[in-house]
């Protein structure tokens, strides 16, 4: 096949082109022809098709995501906002932190190990691209029914892929989620978060400036893996019986990833880089068009210079390849020798593939012939934007009307005891150790808290102890019942988790996992979730700094539960003041916040009755803020011996987790105003269980009163069992050993 050059394209306007197969709509193809004033070459068509895919262009979500900017709270903390590789937040003392969560859902279903591994690799490269040293990762994961055979295929592969990549990269895994729900059976969600640290002056952006500066591609050689992965894999649902479009999922090399981190930080630190971009989805097409359009507007690339792993690749394939562990840097000619020397020291291949121009065009040559000549903005930023129709689903009212009030509740001490134990051993609440023990949480020596803590806490400055806390959360069942409230509840829980460790919540990242945007029901769920999250962020003063949208998580007509995963970052001046969750040997056990009879979407309704209906627990952002203020102040003033957020499984599960973490029991009693079942298992929000030393109790209660946070003494820490003084006429108790055996048996029994 002869090369499809720009000159040939101009000469042969009527050659039929496979735009539909590449995922472009007829009107999108027409627009490309308009932009270029001719038909695109096959290389140009490849570039536009990947860059205008849903995954890269956010064409269905853009109009909604604008709210994160329009409603952004005023804050001085945001140093770099949405639109860059990752947002950057000021955490004080000249330190900046960048963090972002992304999805790798579809590849992880096709090939769990490599899909999950390269998900970690991709988010880590986003963080390096900002000039930051990656310091920790987290993984919010969602799978289908735990006993389903396909879950046994997907989960162990995903977990070992995350471990295999992250452990080899030397990044501690400090938390995340493992959630089971049938709605994810054909569409598991594999999200990956990375947090990185830098000094303010070290922030780098993706732009190609300075005419004559060189474009350097470094890292792994380019191969045939992941070609079309972005546009095809991420934009097609897994229809049963449909045509198979399964190009190779990318394959990760964490060893090269580690070298890339060290090498990149060294060239950045030596001041050798004018602009930098990682190669992720859409590979070179994305990196060159984004660098060029964010800079002086022109770039000339000689594609034959790209080092190849497979010499048979065509020009189009090289442009689309998603081979992992590659970066693109803009380097001044005066510094190129030094740049290449550092790469050589790390055994990293680095090649000059082009230069920055002032032509306003991205020009790509292939063995002396021009195969791409486009305005780079039209590729990178001016893709199509859709106002997808959306409407509240017809079934939403019925779902909300199906309240859980009719479900049989335990009425005896024995039944209540059994229910609490059953929940403690249920797949969504049982110990996560089987998963998290496959991740290194110690490497780099700055992990202060990791799973099962409320939030992961990382020390940033060894001298002062300044550090950050991170939590991710989402309850898809809540979001299904009410996507506006569901997004706010996800945010509220992550916010509360961060505050529970003693950190002040500062900024937000999100990974919005939904079904097909072409379904008005799904699009309504999406728009409601974005609106809910933006409103909540505005009210509590934490901006969304960046994130990711993953659509098409559905099988046939059935979409996953709407799953807006929210990550909250908080800051702590001294991590030595962090509040642990382990039940101490003594102290007063207090419940903060108000408990209502709220079971819509609850873990109890899910586990015991397989029921999903009604409304999720009420959101009170004002109460969340007040609670957070008490938890942060309590940590700073050293009043708290322990604290733990109350969420899925209610007060009972919070106590169980504290008791297991501390290997110490507690004796509690049901407040007079509450039914024992409601007290133990309701999922009312804005609550936490805390333990304070008896001599601090007065000061702590005063702190709660000052912030108008309801506080109730529910018991005393210590002993060998978790005991409830009286429930429906008799005491109930569980020994620590019994709780541990129940909690720790579940996941190994399912997956070991």
């Amino acid at each position: 096949m002869s090369t499809d050059t720009v000159e040939r394209a101009a000469r042969t306007p009527d050659v039929p082109q496979p735009y539909a197969e590449l995922g472009l709509k007829p009107e999108e193809y027409e627009r490309i022809r308009e932009i270029l004033g001719r038909r695109p070459t096959s290389a140009e068509l490849a570039m536009y098709s990947v860059m205008w895919s849903e995954h890269c262009s956010y064409k269905s979500s853009k109009v909604h995501l604008r709210q994160f900017g329009d409603k952004a709270p005023r804050t001085d903390a945001l140093l770099v906002g949405i639109g860059e590789n990752a947002g950057v937040v000021d955490i004080g003392d000249g330190w900046a932190v960048t963090f972002k969560v992304e999805s790798h859902n579809h590849p992880s279903y096709v090939e769990p190990y490599q899909g999950a591994a390269t998900g970690v690799g991709g988010i880590v490269r986003d963080v390096i691209s900002m000039g930051a040293r990656p310091v920790a990762v987290m993984d919010p994961l969602r799978f289908g029914a735990p006993e389903h055979p396909d879950t046994k295929r997907v989960l162990p592969g995903v977990v070992s892929g995350i471990g295999g990549y992250g452990n080899s990269l030397g990044l501690p895994n400090i938390g995340g989620e493992v959630v089971f729900d049938e709605s994810y059976q054909g569409n598991p969600l594999v999200n990956a978060l990375c947090v990185g640290v830098m000094r303010h002056e070290d922030i780098h952006l993706a732009s190609a400036r300075g005419v004559g500066n060189l474009v350097v591609l470094y890292g792994a050689k380019t191969g045939g893996d992941g070609i079309g992965g972005v546009s095809v894999l991420a934009s097609e649902t897994f229809d049963e019986g449909g045509p198979t479009k399964r190009p190779s999922v990318q394959v990760g090399d964490p060893f090269m990833g580690k070298l890339l981190i060290e090498c990149t930080l060294e060239v950045l630190g030596a001041g050798l880089v004018e602009g930098i971009q990682d190669l992720g989805g859409a590979g070179l097409s994305c990196a060159t068009s984004e660098l060029a359009s964010n800079g002086d507007g022109g770039m000339h690339v000689r594609l034959e210079a790209v080092p190849l792993r497979d010499a048979t690749l065509t020009a189009e394939e090289i442009l689309m390849s998603e081979s992992q562990e590659r970066m693109c840097a803009i380097v001044s000619p005066s510094k190129i020798a030094q740049f290449l020397a550092i790469c050589a020291r790390w055994d990293v291949t680095a090649t000059v593939i082009g230069e920055v121009t002032d032509t306003g065009r991205l020009v790509v040559d292939w063995h002396g012939e021009t195969i791409v000549d486009v305005p780079p903005r039209t590729v990178a930023h001016d893709g199509p934007v859709y106002e997808r129709p959306y409407a509240r689903p017809a079934w939403q009212d019925d779902l909300q009307a199906d309240v859980p009030d009719h479900l049989a509740r335990p009425q005896t001490p024995e039944a209540l005891r059994d229910t609490v134990l059953r929940l403690a051993g249920s797949p969504n609440l049982a110990s996560r150790a089987w998963v998290t023990d496959q991740y290194d949480r110690y490497v780099r020596g700055n992990t202060v808290l990791a799973q099962p803590a409320d939030a992961g806490v990382i020390r940033v400055d060894e001298t002062t102890g300044r550090g950050v806390a991170l939590a991710t959360d989402c309850n898809g069942r809540y979001a299904k019942l009410d996507p506006y409230a569901g997004a706010q509840l996800a945010y509220a829980e992550a916010y509360r988790n961060v505050a529970t460790t003693g950190a002040e919540p500062l900024a937000v990242t999100d990974c919005l996992n939904f079904g097909s945007p072409e379904d008005p029901d799904v699009m309504w769920q999406f728009s409601e979730s974005v609106r809910g999250l933006a409103d909540a962020c505005l009210e509590l003063g934490t901006p969304v700094t960046g994130g990711n949208v993953s659509f098409y998580n559905q099988t046939g007509d059935v979409a996953i539960h709407p799953t807006p995963v929210v990550g909250v970052l908080g800051v702590m001046p001294d991590v030595a003041r962090r509040t642990p969750m382990a039940m101490p040997a003594q102290g007063a056990v207090l419940l903060l916040g108000q408990t209502h009879d709220e079971f819509g979407g609850s873990e109890w309704a899910h586990v015991v009755h397989g029921h999903l209906g009604g409304l999720p627990p009420a959101v009170s952002l004002r109460a969340e803020r007040a609670l957070a203020q008490v938890l942060v102040a309590g940590s700073r003033e050293r009043l708290l011996a322990a604290a733990h957020d109350v969420s899925d499984g209610g007060v009972a599960q919070a106590l169980v987790e504290m008791v297991l973490a501390g290997s110490t029991g507690a004796a509690v009693s049901v407040p007079e105003s509450l039914d024992p079942f409601v007290f133990l298992l309701s999922e009312s929000t804005a609550r936490a269980v805390v333990v304070v030393a008896e001599e601090c109790a007065g000061a702590f209660v005063a702190l709660c009163e000052q912030h108008r946070v309801p506080v109730t003494r529910i018991g005393t820490a210590g002993g060998e069992e978790l005991a409830v003084a009286e429930a429906y006429g008799a005491p109930i108790a569980w020994t620590v050993d019994e709780l541990r055996a129940t909690s720790e048996a579940t996941l190994p029994a399912l997956f070991a």
């Binding site: 452990n167 080899s168 060893f255 991740y439 290194d440 110690y442 020596g445």
Partner: protein, 223 residues
Amino acid sequence: MRIGVVTFPGSLDDVDAARAVRIAGGEPVQLWHGEGELRDVDAVILPGGFSYGDYLRAGAIARFAPVMEPLLAAAAEGLPVLGICNGFQVLTEAHLLPGSMIKNDHRRFVCKDQRLRVENVRTSWTSAYTAGQEIVVPLKNQDGQYVADASTLERLEGEGRVVFRYVAGNPNGSRNDIAGVCNERGNVVGLMPHPEHAVDALTGPGTDGLGFFASVLTGLVAA
């Protein structure tokens, strides 16, 4: 006291080992795999990680690094050398220590706080402990199952060269619950668990690992 910490491509816990040396009162010195010199250090640590990705066999490529040549010579002269995890694997590949590590018997990576018994306190790296003392340090690896032939095991046991043993459960199927061994002279010690992650109660399970670094620093002062 200058304690060298070698960085191979793919070393991960080199910063942790250097920090542990500093906390114990020593001066950490970075040694680069590609340079065949030891920079006048008084002891050397080969840290944990996945040198060269461990794609061939853990430690198999690192043993050929230029830094290993002077290290082998100095170890033969009595230089204290500690191999942690991947460093232990490098030491066995280099035949400074007997035996080998294969995949964990359960085939998974495992990260946990592990209880160990210190069996031999006459080595350069364990003199600060008391014989039979139990310590808790993190264990984290994929290829941690210590194996050796029967006669090697018998000799190691007979000569008291099993330095650490797993207690309260064998986490990876290691023969004789062996977590770490030493050479005949006791200056070269290798183990799978990570004492450098147990030097600060804020970031580790405790400070039980400090004894390794205190041992070598004390020994060097005495010498």
